[in-house]
Symmetry: C2
Subunit: 152 residues, 2 copies
Amino acid sequence: MKSPRHSADTAAAPAPASRCDYGDADPFQWDTREDCEVRQILDRIGDKWSLLVIALLDVRTLRFTELRREIDGISQRMLTVTLRQLERDGLVKRTVHPVVPPRVEYQLTPLGRTLHTTINALVVWTEKHQNEIAASRAEYDRRAEAEARTAV
Amino acid sequence: MKSPRHSADTAAAPAPASRCDYGDADPFQWDTREDCEVRQILDRIGDKWSLLVIALLDVRTLRFTELRREIDGISQRMLTVTLRQLERDGLVKRTVHPVVPPRVEYQLTPLGRTLHTTINALVVWTEKHQNEIAASRAEYDRRAEAEARTAV
DNA sequence: CGGAATCCGGTCGGATACTG
DNA sequence: CAGTATCCGACCGGATTCCG
């Protein structure tokens, strides 16, 4: 008995939402509370596949299998889960054509499009600074390793 | 024996890096490969605490305990882990003052500052559209629940 | 004070099998 | 074709303990 841990697998998970109203000033107060809306979408774009899906759908409408083939590496389970979340958030529109074999198409909503645009700023930043980051990491690791040797 | 699963806990995790060089055109090709640099920093900003730390350090330099108290909810373990990652990426500078009791201060690097600026665009987007998202979710859940009842 | 090491539960996501 | 249902390993992050 003792609460089946599969609950997270399939459950809709209503989520309490926790309003956490902002004082509209204080531009640095948004992130001091953990379960705000910011976190909600951050968890979405931070997850493993959402971004890929959004980016692909921003190019054109795609069917389930097309997405699956395009992403390559995603399991059908995670594709389904990801699409359902995006649909729930109003970022993706799901259209079922009642034919046999079924034909289901996914497209970005206007909201989803604006999100992708915003995300792109982050991508640009990353591409611009990836060398600095890589260098910093290499330097850090080199130093850490050297330190480890002296400790022996 | 069989590979201790704690490896991810403390190990430095060198990470193969997987260069995955871009063709500089194709603005929508960045995200078709999964382990690119974009993913690297996305995993960072997508994790539970990095963003909070960055935002707080953007206001002013803080000590370990100050950060811990300010964030409230973070474990000392995760604060340490998060800070080490940010330091490794060159986003945060760690300064140890050799006094007794030890005094360690953390501050954002210029690179970290530019990242925070970029992130803010995402925050603005979220605050602007949180109502749409919340409404979409409520609608989705309402519809799903209604559908579940007819199925019974 | 500022960590490091260990233990451990909960969750994320992959593999597989089955369905309309 | 487009999913749903189950099972299960891997990892993330919290709690606790110990250390310089």
